[in-house]
């Protein structure tokens, strides 16, 4: 099962290495990882999506991360109401005569063209990983020249529903 884990760390050199090294040593498979500064000076936050077999494994993962000296806080936010976003940049073959067709495709995704060349256009799309997947599937037939994704970043919503629906990618 996929789990979303956030890890607040003291931003010291080597801390990312320490955390990913731990995951490698303990044989956890990382689907995606994002890191960036937080609102607090000197603190960074990592968001992982990991694939684990069972509850015991995820408990072990959280505990092992928590043990690291540079790690301040570890949360498994999978089962909470969360906001999760990922950004993808997609360079697609798009000759001028199909541009309007492309626009009608990207519009519902609120993607934007951020670089336009003679025959290729680069689109930027943000959303949860599922939305990004859907977007890429639609664009694929036109010919993707290059694709890059940031991986998901997330935190819990201010208001938690009692029974929050699980994100479909996590099922």
């Amino acid at each position: 099962m996929k789990r979303v884990i956030t890890v607040t760390v003291i931003n010291q050199s080597g801390v990312l290495n320490r955390v990913t090294g731990l995951l490698m040593k303990r044989q956890f498979n990382i689907e995606s990882i994002t890191v960036g500064h937080t609102e607090q000076v000197g603190m960074s936050k990592m968001t992982f999506i990991v694939n684990v077999e069972d509850e015991r494994k995820i408990e072990q993962l959280v505990k092992q991360l928590q043990k690291q000296i540079d790690v301040i806080k570890v949360d498994d936010i999978t089962d909470k109401s969360i906001v999760m976003r990922e950004l993808a940049l997609v360079k697609v073959i798009s000759p001028p005569h199909i541009r309007s067709e492309m626009n009608s495709i990207i519009e519902p995704f609120r993607a934007t063209a951020i670089d336009i060349g003679k025959n290729v256009v680069t689109y930027q799309v943000t959303g949860n990983p599922e939305k990004i997947e859907a977007f890429i599937d639609l664009i694929k037939p036109y010919g993707i020249k290059e694709l890059t994704r940031t991986g998901a970043t997330a935190f819990v919503r201010e208001t938690q529903k009692v029974q929050s629906p699980q994100l479909s990618i996590l099922k």
Binding site: G14, N17, R56, Q60, K67, I69
Partner: protein, 571 residues
């Protein structure tokens, strides 16, 4: 005591002087190390402001000695090595200390900051290398952080679940001028590191309840008892409620080896009784052990009838291998104290104890005497007799280690120094040197195999130099005994590279280092030589030629349950 009328200002002139002063402030009495280019400034500072330094003949010897020192003294072992090969030679010892939770602070030299990352002479990325095998590690990148880092390193190594901390010091930092104004003497502040030592009260109540409900409870006592100094509390709990107790390999010594409720060691080469007790108990109280696979055998068959209480200072150990009903994150001493305060009816049926004692009588540890050869088990028994069970015993890994664990019944805590988690050949002899330095008045016996001894035999030079009375007993079976035993059992006696018939003359080797050497071939010789050699005040080496093809029994074959032990012999 002379009055100190004048406090000398600290000589904080460079990074190295700061380091040595900080070590003194930490109360460090002895450093194990080996100099080299990148740590020359540190060794120069040590020359000017001395702390006792033990110059091992190989960095691996230095760090195992520091481990032995840490295990026996309960203090943090300190190691210094140079960059590159000096640092990488420490990797085995760092891993060993990590797996057995021994407190070490390891200072490695590093090339100057201006050339880090250029594959400079004697450069190795020791931070990257040691990240997975340390509790924490640091590279000092700014001289003003140096005092703080040293303080934090000692704090981290010696609190919570103990472990090794590496501090990597670039040469220009070690030699760099240190402005005293930069030195802010602050308290350790590590928001991400707050070990829980006090148990949760509700969980203690639950544990008390579970014990009072149990008919056939069993205590599994691990090294956590020794690290916490909780031997008295363990004994009180065992005796107050008459709960039988077994030990892990590393937990040996946490209860007196002859205690009437002690069942011997559990696990792969544990006693039949201890393993049967684990299989039959209805409550297993694990205190400070981590359910290592050498202890549990097949996890699906482990303690099948038992509710499990697990007391551990490291929350990550609880539930890692064995599902736990009552987890208690705490220091073993604190947890046991709280548990002892709880008043509850002693539940144990005397039938359970009688049953175990009978099993112990019926299925004891055994060996078949051999008129022609001295058996290793006999050798250990004689060592036990001669030393009265009071010696500090250190070992490597392998057959000799298991025989020592089985037949050297310990009277005292902190007298058992063995490489448990990593199983390091070459550990026992240098560890004995460290142990002897920690407790100069105790008798220290290194029980090692002939193969493992040859991995760190160069440290004989230390005995020659220090004249400390370490006794080295080589149980010499001309090869890698445990490897050979496994090849006999699982590989149809194909002894691939496990027999070493060509050996040095160990007695002459001892003599080359100006040490007294003995050779023993028979039981009679063993009795007289051990009496003379082990009771002498000098360092000695005893080459004890034992039966080559003797095996360690009983045994839990990997993948099977503890109750399926082989090599159990009924009387």
């Amino acid at each position: 005591m002379p009055a100190e009328t004048e406090v000398q200002p600290k000589q904080l002139n460079d990074g190295s002087a700061v380091l040595i002063q900080a070590l003194k402030d930490q109360g460090v009495e002895v450093i194990f190390g080996y100099p080299g280019g990148a740590v020359l400034p540190i060794y120069d500072a040590l020359y000017k402001n001395p702390i006792k330094h033990i110059l091992a003949r190989h960095e691996q010897g230095a760090i195992h000695a520091a481990e032995g020192y840490a295990r026996v003294s309960g203090r943090t072992g300190v190691v210094i090595a140079t960059s590159g090969p000096g640092a990488t030679n420490l990797v085995t010892g760092i891993t060993d200390a990590y797996l057995d939770s021994l407190p070490l602070v390891v200072f490695t030299g590093q090339v100057g900051q201006e050339v880090i990352g250029t594959d400079a002479f004697q450069e190795a990325d020791i931070i990257g290398i040691t990240q997975p095998i340390t509790k924490h590690n640091y590279q000092v990148n700014d001289i003003k952080d140096f005092p703080r880092i040293i303080k934090e390193a000692f704090h981290i190594a010696s609190t919570g679940r103990k472990g090794p901390v590496v501090v990597d010091i670039p040469k220009n930092i070690a030699a760099g001028l240190f402005d005293e104004e930069k030195h802010v003497d602050e308290e350790v502040n590590l928001p991400g590191y707050q070990p829980t030592t006090r148990p949760n009260f509700l969980q203690i109540q639950k544990a008390a309840q579970a014990i009072s409900n149990a008919k056939q409870p069993l205590i599994l006592a691990g090294a956590g008892i020794l690290h916490a100094g909780a031997m008295d509390e363990l004994k009180d709990l065992v005796e107050k409620h008459r709960i039988p107790v077994t030990n892990t390999l590393l937990g040996l010594g946490s209860i007196h080896g002859e205690h009437e409720l002690f069942l011997g060691m559990a696990g792969m080469h544990g006693t039949y009784t201890a393993n049967m007790a684990i299989t039959e108990c209805d409550l297993l109280v694990n205190i400070g052990a981590r359910f290592d696979d050498r202890l549990t055998g097949n996890l699906n068959l482990f303690a099948p009838n038992a509710k499990v209480i697990h007391i551990d200072i490291d929350p990550a150990e609880i539930g890692k291998n064995v599902p736990t009903e009552i987890p208690i994150v705490a220091d073993a001493k604190e947890a046991l104290k709280e548990l002892l305060k709880q008043e509850f009816a002693s539940p144990v049926s005397e039938d359970w104890i009688t049953h175990l004692k009978e099993a112990h009588k019926e299925y004891p540890l055994w060996y078949v005497e051999d008129k022609e050869h001295l058996l290793p088990q006999q050798a250990i028994q004689i060592i036990h007799q001669v030393t009265g069970g009071d010696a500090i015993v250190t070992t490597d890994v392998g057959q000799h280690q298991m025989w020592a664990a089985q037949y050297y019944s310990l009277n005292n805590p902190d007298h058992w120094v063995t490489s448990g988690g990593l199983g390091t050949m070459g550990f026992g002899f240098p560890a004995a040197i460290g142990a002897q330095l920690a407790k100069p008045k105790e008798r220290v016996v290194a029980i090692v195999g002939d193969a493992g001894f040859q991995m760190t035999a160069q440290e004989l030079s230390l005995l020659q130099e220090l004249r400390i009375p370490v006794k080295v007993v080589i149980l010499n079976n001309e090869g890698l005994g445990m490897v050979r035993q496994w090849q006999e059992t699982f590989y149809e006696e194909r002894y691939s590279q496990s027999l070493i018939p060509v050996q040095p003359d160990f007695v002459k080797l001892a003599e080359a280092y100006d040490l007294k050497g003995y050779r023993i071939n028979t039981l009679e010789e063993a009795e007289s030589v051990f009496r003379e050699a082990l009771l002498s005040d000098e360092p000695v080496l005893i080459d004890c030629r034992v039966k080559q093809l003797e095996n360690v029994y009983p045994m839990v074959v990997p993948g099977t349950g503890l109750h399926e032990m082989i090599g159990v012999s009924g009387k």
